[in-house]
Symmetry: C2
Subunit: 341 residues, 2 copies
């Protein structure tokens, strides 16, 4: 990037025969400038294809028209749905989005926060359940504290344990509970659960909400398998359940992505969904309605969540009290769940 030189404001000013100050004022519209000078500056700028150096601007303005977003994996529909909302909202505000994928590596997540901090991003958004261990928490705090003190904004989606920042919080517990009740209403009494990585608040809430609602109806669940939030995780979990002799009329996967894997596993083992076993997921990622059978799930407005988290981070008076915006989940009953035979 250093091979040749960029066109600078000085070049524009010289070409237009005015001072840097005047050129700057014209290009930013920050003060009245005589019409002929203005025209000359504008002509020179477009002639030279001038683009202001955002770094010089950021340096003097101590801020950069940029927001950073950190998620675990862009190609997971859950995250890309939220990212889409963030980008739509960012575009409206003329902000550039720096999007980083951690690939679920907590060290990398902290490193990204540091880089975003260095970039003086206006806001940093953390999407998706975090790494809820002490070491991570401390490392993250070390990065975030000075960033916040310097006026940076931080907001998160779906992680509420440790970080004391503005949060968009899907009502995982209530959603899962509502799903459980709907499944009970269908007549199911024997359930199995495909749970996510232990400790994640999302997992705790979804699985906990599901189990509590069942327990309230006097239905215990002892068939649980844990695995990563991925198609493979769901596939492997379902296989493990099957290997141990699955005895359930309904299987609940903590995420749709896992449910997709579970569906494949069940089918491979010769089980029909929903005839032999009902299957439900969580999130309502776009694709699940096109599965056969279409998947029963708890729908989350992913794109809206993305829009809300950036709005939350950038809101006026951002330094006020912490705000938590709860996003309800809606149970969507589709053909993957029917009453047990």
């Amino acid at each position: 990037m250093a091979d040749r030189v960029h066109v600078t404001l000085r070049d524009v000013a010289m070409a237009a025969g005015v001072s840097l100050a005047t050129a700057s004022r014209v290009l930013n519209g920050t003060a009245k400038v005589r019409e002929d000078l203005r025209d000359r500056v504008e002509a020179a700028a477009s002639e030279l294809a001038y683009t202001p150096n955002a770094h010089a601007q950021a340096l003097v303005r101590a801020s950069n028209e940029t927001v950073g977003v950190i998620c675990h994996d862009v190609s997971d529909p859950y995250f890309s749905g939220i990212a889409r909302g963030v980008m739509r909202a960012a575009a409206q505000r003329d902000l550039l989005v720096m999007l980083a994928s951690t690939f679920r590596d907590s060290t990398r997540e902290v490193a990204y926060v540091s880089m975003l901090r260095a970039q003086r991003a206006r806001a940093i958004l953390l999407i998706g359940s975090g790494f809820e261990d002490r070491r991570w928490e401390r490392a993250m705090d070390v990065e975030l504290r000075p960033y916040l003190n310097a006026g940076g904004r931080v907001a998160v989606v779906s992680r509420h344990r440790s970080l004391r920042v503005d949060t968009v919080l899907p009502e995982n517990r209530q959603g899962a509970a509502a799903l459980a009740r709907a499944l009970l209403a269908l007549g199911h009494r024997r359930f199995a659960i495909l749970s996510g990585p232990p400790g994640l608040s999302t997992v705790v809430d979804r699985v906990g909400g599901f189990r509590d609602a069942l327990a309230a109806a006097g239905v215990p669940v002892d068939q649980i398998e844990e695995g990563p939030f991925s198609r493979e995780g769901g596939y492997a979990g379902a296989c493990a359940l099957l290997d141990r002799g699955l005895d359930a009329t309904c299987l609940f996967a903590a995420t749709d992505v896992m449910a997709v894997g579970a569906l494949a596993a069940l089918r491979e083992r010769g089980l029909r969904v929903p005839d032999d076993v009902s299957l439900a997921g969580f999130d309502d990622i776009p694709v699940v309605r096109d599965l056969t059978p279409p998947l029963t799930t708890v729908s989350l407005p992913l794109e809206e969540m993305g829009e809300r988290v950036i709005a939350l981070a950038l809101r006026d008076g951002g330094r006020g009290r912490r705000r938590i915006e709860r996003v309800p989940g809606t149970v969507i009953l589709r053909a993957s769940t029917i009453g047990p035979r």
Copy 2:
């Protein structure tokens, strides 16, 4: 971001009792510094949670450890698959990725290039077929030319018409032709095509390659419907085909995403896939193998394409001749295509 002050190198230097120059040298390891001084600087930096201002660095170094990626829609699996590859490769190089979604708005695409230029991104990557009209071409050229002249790198995936830059080019034509031949081999003779937006090189190549291969076997195709590259586009296109009295044993959709929509439409109209009509797509996005039936398609190594495009942009001697890396597509026959009854 201007509420309070950031910790600067000057703060670190003062705390350590050394000059800025020394502090800078320690933190960058650019020159030997006496051990005790070095220790003091390092201690001060970590004490103060110092993060260098990337803008100040970028300003003096005339470059920013950042690459910009522009795609049409992050939540489209085709793009997010490629984006994933880009991010993985970027992470290895300690680069931050700025990812922008155009939402298929050509004006916005040009605006993003301008913003990335302002950010002095090391490279700008354009993912996915472009807007092949004259106005766009000129506007894009105005932005890209000075960027390239200033040493910026540009590379693209899957758009070869107008932009004369390094390119990763999926072999759409060959892939579609191979698919057509495979379908012919299954015994199909009556085909319908769901095409994408007219004029896009991707569409021209895929549909053209498909038709040419059929024509070579003496099989004409007159049932074609155009629509946007989306599930809805596929759905609407299939409905239109059906309304006009679909007379084909096999339907080819220009992208998997469209095929998903088509599958839904066919099913709604009571047609069974593959018994009544075979269906094939293109791209091999992850989800299609989990459809019922799993979709026959042409597989593209999306993630690898992402890795290659960033490698191409950042390669040494980037100012050399234009390079075009062709990526072959592999026909994957799955259950959505069988021989006609």
